[in-house]
């Protein structure tokens, strides 16, 4: 059953070295838990970005929490490239598994279905096949002869995201962001931060239930108001573009990044 916990307790259940899957910026990123993870001094995490990441991955890489990343891109979007990601690549200080968006979805889907691999269209001819020896090209075992790429299942230890609301049974409202459900299905444990806990049962009507990740898949929930900031949360708030630009500018240097991080963390503490 789903536990209702504080933010510290939520991230305390993540162990060094575990794999953590996180969503794309617009789908509900738990920046509140990101701050708590950095604060807790977690190390050696392997991030699985669904299918790309921005500020969250850049902060976790820069702060030394993540030492390994599977992603189709890391970018701050309109604010430009991801500076700590690029620096870590140059320094060779992270292990990168370059991917392409649908391959990450496919890997999680394999875990959701309990199969060792998932076939995927396209990709043939890409150098990604050179740098991802875990991806294979096979002859299709059915139908017309032809080559098909297969990717292995991705079973993250943890799925972590932020959503507008959960009910007291542990059901979480995810709207159309069904990748959040895919992440939870695939992961061993799912941790969620939310803006608020609502009194009504989110599963009560067919319409509201359609946009819900059932409690069955949710291990723990912590309330974190404004918990995606400075990233957006659908139906709630927009991207804080000025803050992202400020980050992009400061994080160009390691010192600037440290200064940003320190302010970011103390802001988190004041809020909590």
């Amino acid at each position: 059953m789903t536990e209702m916990v504080g933010l510290q307790a939520l991230v305390a259940s993540i162990e060094p070295g575990q794999s953590v899957t996180i969503p794309v910026d617009r789908a509900g990123v738990s920046m509140a838990a990101t701050a708590a993870m950095i604060e807790a001094g977690l190390t050696g995490l392997h991030l699985v970005c669904v299918p790309i990441s921005g500020l969250q991955a850049d902060l976790l890489i820069g702060a030394g929490v993540a030492s390994s990343v599977e992603t189709s891109a890391v970018s701050l979007g309109e604010a430009g490239g991801a500076p700590r990601f690029a620096a870590a690549i140059r320094a060779g200080s992270i292990r990168l598994r370059d991917a392409t968006c649908p391959a990450i979805h496919a890997g999680l889907l394999a875990a959701q279905k309990g199969v060792p691999f998932m076939p995927i269209a396209g990709i043939v001819g890409s150098d990604l096949l050179e740098v991802r020896p875990d991806w294979k090209v096979i002859d299709s075992p059915v139908g017309e002869p032809g080559k098909v790429v297969v990717v292995p299942a991705i079973t993250p230890d943890i799925a972590l995201f932020h959503a507008p609301e959960a009910d007291r049974f542990g059901n979480v409202r995810i709207g159309r962001y069904r990748e959040l459900a895919t992440m939870a299905y695939a992961a061993r444990r799912t941790l969620v931060t939310v803006e608020r806990i609502v009194e009504r049962d989110l599963m009560a009507t067919e319409d509201s239930a359609a946009g819900v990740l059932p409690a069955l898949y949710v291990d723990a929930i912590a309330v974190a108001e404004n918990g995606a900031w400075p990233l957006p949360l659908w139906d709630e708030y927009e991207t804080d573009g000025a803050e992202l630009a400020r980050y992009a500018a400061m994080a160009r240097t390691d010192e600037g990044f440290r200064a940003y991080l320190s302010a970011f963390l103390s802001r988190g503490k004041q809020v909590a």
Partner: protein, 248 residues
């Protein structure tokens, strides 16, 4: 470039893109691609005016212009089902064989310059019939003989595919892509530039006609449509960009 020149450049690109999209029913556009989006909107507006089949535009990451309800994977599934007729890709490097590189330059993995990553290119290039390569910078560092990393390959005779490059559009010129031959052919050069400018600034070889025509500038009706209806439609999703499109 003056503000007026910049507006003319954008209007030209938008007009060319509308032409390249002619006949499609569903085009997907990235969240930060205002010129491709404007080109698609121009086609949609024209088709409406002329009673031609409607055009569906999916703007990724937008909730208002989002026809999808199955999460981030739906665009990719939709393309695999043959329901996405056109898409735009860029590239830190684009080579003469039509291959694109979104990963970086130098030796992988500790590259000299690292870009964000391949996104969905390795997949969509195979599945979307009309992929338009759109890169404003036209220089030998972008248009290279051979990309340092193939994020997505343009032609792969070893597998059946419906997708691949259709054209390459830059600030200087428009190229068609010949899938049989696996290379580009210069179609037209934008006003203000010559075929020699294009030759000088292109790092790869390409075919060309004996006489290279100029890219047609938007006619008056088109320019008015862009400055009116299209600019208003753009303002919803790309407010910053729409401002730059205002009359100087």
């Amino acid at each position: 470039m003056t503000m007026q020149d910049d507006r003319a450049r954008k209007e030209l690109l938008i007009t060319v893109i509308a032409g390249l999209l002619d006949g499609i029913r569903h085009v997907a556009v990235g969240a930060s691609s205002p010129i491709p989006a404007a080109g698609a909107m121009l086609l949609r507006a024209r088709n409406e005016q002329q009673g031609k089949p409607p055009v569906r535009i999916s703007i990724l990451g937008s909730s208002r212009h989002n026809f999808f309800t199955n999460g981030g994977v739906e665009l990719f599934d939709c393309a695999a089902q043959g329901r996405v007729d056109a898409f735009f890709l860029g590239g830190g490097q684009i080579d003469g064989a039509g291959n694109i590189n979104l990963v970086g330059t130098g030796d992988y993995p500790r590259m000299d310059v690292r870009w964000p990553g391949s996104f969905g290119s390795a997949y969509l290039y195979h599945l979307v019939p009309r992929v338009i390569l759109f890169r404003e910078e036209h220089s030998p560092r972008v248009l290279v003989p051979k990309v340092d990393f193939v994020s997505a390959a343009a032609t792969t005779p070893e597998v059946k595919r419906r997708g691949g490059p259709h054209a390459l559009l830059t600030n200087l010129a428009l190229f068609d892509f010949d899938r049989e031959r696996g290379g580009f052919r210069l179609r037209s050069v934008h006003p203000g530039y010559s075929a020699e400018d294009v030759r000088d600034r292109t790092g790869f070889d390409y075919a060309m006609p004996e006489i290279v025509p100029p890219t047609p500038a938007p006619d008056r009706t088109t320019a008015e449509l862009i400055r009116g209806q299209i600019r208003n439609e753009l303002a919803e999703c790309y407010p910053e960009f729409a401002r730059t499109m205002a009359a100087a």
